[in-house]
């Protein structure tokens, strides 16, 4: 096609170069690999799962006809106590996890931002960022050992060093339903501290220093400056982090599979684990119903995300 265009007169060639087809042919090859992967392993599967959720498809019932059942799966799922409990458990974890995941890195970022020795500030950043370089599941494995009450150093310190507990009443971080979510949240804070600190530091760096100087001249306290200058300027970053972390917290699954497995008595048996259980383990692998459970969770998350965007909307 390009050869064809070159053969024509100059005016036609210019016309061709500005045409939609030319722009399409020269630019889309660059997008194609990304779109191939994105559509093939993300967009299509999501839509396919959506379709499945309206049928009575069982993976292991090979050869049986599949029927369209409308909203029956959704109706059943909404009445299913395990779905409700699973969603509530995920919300409970999010409520524990999210505030700490925002506040602790924000404190760290404000502290590092005030370190005037640049070399020292870099060292702090790099050390805090180390956990972010370790893949999630390897973090979970490590912390499963940290919390273990046979080998774990946390209980060793609590029992044998500080003598706060004895081996008979030492906390079972991952076995006690009241402690599990806190234990998972602490691990997540540890993991995300450096990464989120870097985000906040980038945000703090964009605030013009003159704003603080002016506020200080006006006699504003540091606390007041934080609320009136720093926080409003960080709102876009806060929005992105709150929304992203809300998404990860609600859809946590690897942690729960590694820590709690399929133990329904533990709070780690949330809607995501239930969906996996339904789709790949229980009975005849009722993937249609599992798909509906997954979509109910996803829709609930979308509603909350929309609410968060509204909450953090730009205000003047």
């Amino acid at each position: 096609m390009v050869v064809l265009a070159r053969g024509r007169a100059g005016a036609t060639a210019r016309h061709w170069r500005e045409s939609f087809m030319y722009r399409f042919v020269t630019s889309w090859p660059f997008l194609l690999p990304t779109i191939g992967f994105f559509v093939g392993w993300q967009l299509y599967p999501i839509l396919r799962v959506l379709w499945m959720s309206f049928t009575d498809y069982y993976y292991l019932r090979v050869g049986e006809p599949v029927h369209w059942v409308g909203l029956a799966n959704y109706r059943e799922a909404l009445a299913d106590p395990l779905v409700r409990q699973g969603l509530l458990r995920a919300l409970a974890f999010t409520a524990i996890f999210l505030p700490g995941m925002i506040v602790i890195p924000l404190v760290a970022a404000i502290l590092i931002d005030r370190v005037r020795n640049q070399r020292l500030a870099t060292i702090y950043r790099v050390i805090l960022l180390i956990p972010a370089m370790i893949p999630g599941p390897l973090i979970f494995v490590l912390w499963k050992w940290m919390y273990s009450y046979t080998i774990g150093p946390i209980n060793y310190v609590l029992v044998d060093v500080l003598h706060l507990f004895t081996i008979y009443n030492a906390p079972q971080w991952l076995g006690d339903p009241d402690l599990t979510f806190l234990a998972v949240a602490v691990m997540e804070w540890w993991w995300g501290l450096g990464y989120h600190t870097i985000f906040f530091l980038a945000g703090l760096a964009t605030i013009p220093r003159e704003l603080f100087e002016a506020a200080r001249v006006d006699g504003a306290s540091e606390w007041r400056m934080f609320w009136s200058v720093t926080l409003p300027r960080l709102r876009p970053i806060l929005l992105v982090l709150v929304v992203l972390r809300f998404g990860t917290a609600m859809a946590v699954i690897d942690e729960y599979l590694i820590f709690g497995g399929f133990n329904r008595a533990l709070p780690t048996y949330t809607w995501t684990v239930y969906m996996w259980d339904l789709a790949f383990q229980l009975g005849d692998w009722r993937q249609s119903y599992a798909a509906a459970v997954g979509w109910i969770g996803a829709l609930l998350m979308l509603i909350v995300v929309a609410f968060l965007f509204w909450l953090f909307r730009p205000r003047d």
Binding site: L31, F38, I110, I127, M133, V141, P153, W190, E222, A251
Partner: protein
Amino acid sequence: MVERLASRAPFARADAALQRPRHRRPLPWGAILRHAVLLLFCGIVLFPLAWVVLLSVKSLPDAYTNRIWPSEFDFSHYRYAMTHISTLPRNVLNSIFVTSMTVALATVCAVLAGYALVHLDTPGRVVVFSLLVASMFFPTRITSLIAVYEIQKQLGFLNTTHGLIFPYVTLSLALSVFIMRGIFETIPRELADAARIDGCGPWRMLLQVMLPLVRNGIVVVIVVNFVTAWGEYLLATTLTNDQEVRTLPVVLAAASGGMGQWAWPRIAAVYVMAVAPALIAFAITQRWYMRGLQEGALKG
């Protein structure tokens, strides 16, 4: 906490300190407290890693007394793990293979797409980019899992190592494209226009003009995809069954400490071998990574 630290901070600032007479300048409590808190954070971050490294070099009796500093060191666990745990070398190779392929594919995809979204007059780029960004706010991993299993089955990829590459590339693809787009936006459009007027085609412009300028961003994308693929658990555990085709993290997560080949120091040695490549790579690329983040990977 914030209140206490913040209200003391003015004393530490040079300008504030200069305003008061020199002989009455108080101790910089703000600075001391600040560094104390930051050192505490660093200590908390480093403790679990130090603990597992120490565990991997403890003698077997020491490992079961739980004391953090061993009375006797034993460095043989690394060799033992590699030679006595039957599938382990295989799992390491699987992880290396899957991760390197994923990183290569995802990076190429992200660089090409980021370039097309910013510097080419791509029709429909707003739609494509919006879809990619929207996917970052949607639990794609959970909702797509069931159908990904089906696709992998149809392609004959179930229970294979190489089959994992395809879903792995998509895991961080949207984020990678987002990062590369941010980096490409830091390159002035005039540069692209000038090159175009000089008769430079889109491919040559990317390879010869742009690529050296987005180097730091590429490092960020490589690190992001490396971390995702090296430790991926959910897909690997769903899509594979046999220990020989599985990757290192799945095997590690399934191993529960006990006796024999899975004695604690030996698992810890496997763990250190699993984490070390990531940390060494980070130590080497840390400078470019930080610069890449500052250049625009964090924007938006």
